[in-house]
């Protein structure tokens, strides 16, 4: 399997705040890497460094074996291969949904409009938004906007997709409609780096989990290990902070057997 992304010993500081100290990652084609860690540990910064929204101070980043970090010119050519979706969707409010989708492929890649339009319609239908091509983003719900943002990124046919807490701003009932789209992409073999606080989703989608703390990779394991038998104390403590519900249920007789059965 081909390695798509290599992150080698990168460091990044904002003024005196050393956000990333020494982070290394590798990602093979078709695999999904989930990055978790406490708030402020540098997850967003890591993703932003990968697609050049932030310049790294040390180390290097390679896409299909080519160094992409450190250059400032032609960053747009790199970004055409790296899709990114943020928590805040950032659709273009002055354009209808279809124009949001066409802009990148037509203007950045120079693809024929009609061809892209047909593809966009197919993908909108696939995420359940076939009837929304002609409306403005403002008229959509958060979950719908985020699905449009995903389609917008996917239409660039990126080699790799970076997702930064894309459900964090959504009402709970809209989270699953967005995560289902991501699961779907994963099944189709899309290579992704996903930052999320949805641990159950993380477990379902990940091929590998990286736990980031204090700007370093503390633990790196397959999800079944990381979520059930974490090797480091810090990961254990981090996972326990998500544990309120199971512990309370454990107080009720018989409730915890189901929890344990779900573990492999």
């Amino acid at each position: 399997m081909d390695t798509i992304l290599q992150v080698r010993h990168i460091g990044k500081a904002f003024e005196h705040n050393q956000v990333l100290r020494d982070v290394s990652l590798e990602l093979d084609e078709g695999r999904v890497l989930v990055v978790v860690g406490p708030s402020g540990c540098g997850k967003s910064t890591l993703l932003r460094c990968i697609n050049g929204l932030e310049q790294i101070d040390s180390g290097e980043i390679l896409l299909r074996g080519e160094v992409i970090s450190g250059q400032r010119k032609n960053l747009h050519l790199v970004r055409q291969k790296i899709g990114m979706v943020f928590q805040s969707y950032d659709l273009f409010p002055h354009m209808r949904v279809m124009d949001n989708l066409l802009l990148g492929p037509v203007k950045a890649l120079g693809r024929p409009k009609e061809e892209v339009r047909a593809e966009a319609e197919r993908m909108l239908a696939r995420v359940g938004l076939a009837d929304k091509a002609g409306v403005y983003p403002r008229t959509l719900s958060g979950g719908q906007r985020q699905r449009v943002a995903l389609v917008r990124a996917m239409l660039m046919q990126p080699e790799i997709l970076l997702l930064d807490e894309i459900t964090a701003a959504l009402d709970p009932e809209m989270v699953s409609e967005v995560l289902n789209v991501v699961l779907d992409l994963a099944r189709d073999g899309m290579t992704m780096v996903i930052v999320t606080h949805e641990m159950r989703f993380a477990e379902a989608v990940a091929d590998e989990v990286v736990f980031l703390e204090d700007g370093c990779v503390v633990e790196r394991n397959p999800p079944e290990v990381f979520f059930h038998r974490p090797e480091t104390e810090r990961a254990k403590r981090f996972l326990q902070s998500f544990d309120y519900a199971p512990r309370r249920r454990a107080a009720q007789p018989g409730a915890n057997t189901a929890e344990e059965q779900s573990a492999p």
Binding site: N51, L53, L75, H76, L77, R79, Q80, G83, M84, F86, S88, D90, L91, F92, P93, H94, L103, G104, K107, A108, L109, G134, V135, Y136, P137, R138, T139, R152, A153, M156
Partner: protein, 238 residues
């Protein structure tokens, strides 16, 4: 017309001389044409200059940024009359001789550019930084991002200020008589000081300006409303 009736509104039997007015309509039409052409050329040039200046400021282009800053303050804090005198009477002393028309256009652009720059800047700054990042994340170049993502949104925000500047600049053409441009103001002045009937001349002047500017004002209100309510997804416009 009824001179007696009109005259009844004024003291000492004064009457509006309608035949004088009729005879001088062509003069005012000529003046209006000059006013409108210089006004619109000035608006167009200063919009371009202002846009460039605001981009320099918002994107923090080194060196140019300081120059733009100085220019904006200079243009906004000196009267057009002084700027025109400088171009018309000052520059020839250092060997730069501009025609009256060139002085007029350069002067209006110099004045308007500063105001337009500020209007565009407020519009550009109102566009969230994340919009720029979103544009660049789908592989657009920085320039494409500005063109397709940032500017359309900035225009909508800046529209009221831009239209206000447009009206302001067209009115400022009344200063152009000092460089011997035969605009409305100059036409009126020439008639009046040449022994014409003052009230008739001034009334025609007022009417001429209103006729020119009222459509622009109405257009401004209309466009502003459209920009504010259309593009951004109110259901009734879809």
């Amino acid at each position: 017309m009824a001179p007696a009736l009109t005259g009844a509104f004024f003291v000492r039997g004064w009457t509006m001389d309608w035949s004088y007015i009729a005879a001088h309509v062509p003069d005012f039409l000529g003046g209006a044409w000059v006013t409108l052409s210089y006004g619109l050329i000035g608006v167009a040039c200063s919009a371009v200059l202002g846009l460039l200046c605001s981009l320099v400021r918002v994107f923090r282009v080194p060196v140019l940024r300081a120059l733009v800053r100085a220019y904006v303050e200079l243009s906004r804090n000196t009267p057009l009359l002084v700027q025109l005198f400088f171009l018309y009477a000052g520059l020839p002393r250092v060997g730069v001789k501009l025609s009256a028309g060139a002085c007029a256009v350069v002067g209006l652009t110099f004045l308007g550019g500063g105001y337009m720059a500020e209007a565009f800047r407020s519009g550009l700054e109102a566009v969230d930084r994340s919009q720029r990042e979103a544009g660049e994340c789908i592989g657009l170049t920085p320039l494409q991002t500005v063109r397709y993502v940032v500017l359309p949104q900035a225009f909508a925000t800046a529209a009221p200020a831009l239209f206000a500047n447009m009206i302001f600049l067209i009115k400022e053409t009344s200063m152009l008589s000092v460089v011997a441009i035969m605009d409305l103001m100059n036409v009126a002045d020439t008639l009046r000081t040449g022994g014409g009937r003052t009230i008739e001349v001034l009334s025609m002047l007022v009417v001429a300006y209103v006729v020119i500017l009222l459509p622009v004002s109405l257009l401004a209100t209309f466009a502003e409303r459209r920009m504010r309510f259309a593009g951004f997804g109110r259901q009734h416009t879809v």
